[in-house]
């Protein structure tokens, strides 16, 4: 694979390995968030509803702490113009999206593993449904985070604006993903979860289409 977006992804990947812009903040946030939840519940047994909700709360806030870096780091280092001079807007968006997809999948796999090891109530009775939710949810999260990162990178108060702007955009995805996670914990069948799955698929398709249409206008001042 040697396409232009993949080359841009490789550039970001190598840059990340050298600068540790996102990895460190994501790792720290995952550890801190899960520790705080563990301390706050103590010896209490939390119900399935709360377990599914908290799982996606950790995912949402971890995403907020690291995924914006993909565009913010270019803007802060002043390399946005360099990127504009070597790649078309669609190449830039695809490259950055691949990077965020990889980051989201790695980050959420760690969260899911830690969660299943540390929370007794996180027992998946319908693992296949959870896997679908996890994959579709992560794709939606990565697409939405990437386009929001592109928007806020041009703004002044980037740190504050990212979660504020992300919350309403990600809310339909998070609510549906929480519901589907709850279904996979209590063992609900695929047939009964088809509506929620369709919502997440529609969300992913709409976000992807809207992002590609919007990005040209965001990228050029």
């Amino acid at each position: 694979m040697s396409s232009k977006p993949y080359s841009l992804f490789l550039k970001d990947f190598r840059s990340e390995l050298r600068t540790r812009y996102a990895i460190n903040s994501l790792a720290m946030f995952i550890i801190v968030a899960i520790s705080v939840i563990l301390f706050s519940i103590g010896n209490e047994k939390i119900n399935e509803n709360l377990t599914a909700g908290l799982f996606w709360v950790v995912i949402f806030f971890t995403a907020m702490s690291g995924l914006a870096r993909v565009f913010v780091s270019e803007e802060e280092r002043g390399t946005t113009m360099t990127l504009q001079l070597v790649a078309s807007p669609s190449t830039v968006f695809t490259g950055k999206l691949i990077f965020n997809l990889v980051l989201v999948f790695c980050m959420n796999t760690v969260i899911a593993l830690l969660y299943s090891a540390l929370f007794d109530a996180f027992v998946l009775r319908n693992f296949a449904l959870f896997l679908y939710t996890f994959i579709l949810g992560n794709i939606g999260l990565a697409i939405a985070s990437t386009i929001i990162a592109a928007i806020i990178s041009k703004a002044g108060a980037k740190g504050t604006l990212y979660p504020v702007l992300s919350f309403p955009i990600l809310l339909p995805l998070i609510l549906t993903a929480v519901q589907l996670t709850l279904f996979s914990i209590d063992g609900t069948t695929f047939e009964k979860s088809i509506f929620e799955l369709a919502v997440v698929i529609c969300y992913d398709v709409i976000m992807l289409t809207a992002s590609y249409m919007l990005f040209d206008f965001i990228w050029k001042d």
Binding site: S7, R14, T79, Q84, V86, S88, T91, G95, D221
Partner: protein
């Protein structure tokens, strides 16, 4: 022979309420060295950014025409080389890595011969494996020329090309501008008299507009 030209029609730019310039009309046809001059704040850098397709004009259009066909904006980066003091390369990579990454992202093959030639001309060959963050400002400026020329663009835009350069660096830049001006369009935005002496045609920006040609002398 490649027939490349740049044509601006009723070009205007405002930032908020502040007018930078309005109703600019010009055309660069045929290979050669062209200049843009004007006092500080007259919009030289803004104009070259618009010509490079980095920012949009508020009014009017800039057309880049290759063999009588207009180049679509999403492909414009393949035809343009750009050097400016506010252009920043990836400091966590070496010069060689930067150039290699750029050629991969552009989707062009890495021209080893050309890159080595440019590194030698701009006196960076011995430092090609050093991280860009260890370079002096003059070395970074010379590195930008290699970045701008590595894909043999049809239009080379140089915004204050000799800023941060010592005499040796300036000589290399002037030599390469004269050499490259034979088979492509070079556009220099500067206030430096020596830079502008290289130009066969000049645009003077003043009082939000293009001044008549006689005002230059």
């Amino acid at each position: 022979m490649i027939n490349f030209s740049v044509k601006a029609e009723t070009l205007g730019k405002t930032f908020g309420r502040r007018l930078i310039f309005s109703d600019l009309e010009f055309e660069f046809t045929g290979n050669g060295i062209y200049g843009i001059s004007g006092p500080n704040g007259s919009g030289k850098s803004t104009l070259v950014k618009i010509i490079a397709g980095l920012i949009s004009p508020t009014k009017g259009t800039v057309k880049h025409i290759l063999d009588k066909k207009e180049i679509p904006s999403e492909k414009l980066h393949n035809y343009i080389g750009f050097v400016s003091p506010y252009l920043i390369l990836y400091e966590e990579f070496t010069a060689w890595e930067n150039l290699n990454l750029f050629s991969q992202i552009r989707g062009i093959s890495f021209n080893n011969e050309l890159i080595e030639y440019l590194l030698k001309v701009f006196l960076l060959y011995d430092r090609k494996n050093d991280l860009v963050k260890t370079y002096s400002s003059g070395m970074k400026q010379r590195m930008k020329f290699i970045f701008a020329m590595m894909h043999s663009p049809h239009l080379l835009i140089l915004d204050e090309p000799t800023s941060n350069l010592d005499d040796e660096g300036k000589d290399s830049v002037y030599r390469i501008i004269k050499e490259q001006g034979i088979d492509r369009i070079i556009l220099i935005a500067s206030n430096d008299k020596t830079d502008l002496e290289l130009c066969s045609e000049k645009i003077l920006l003043q009082n939000y507009k293009k001044m008549p040609a006689q005002e230059l002398n």
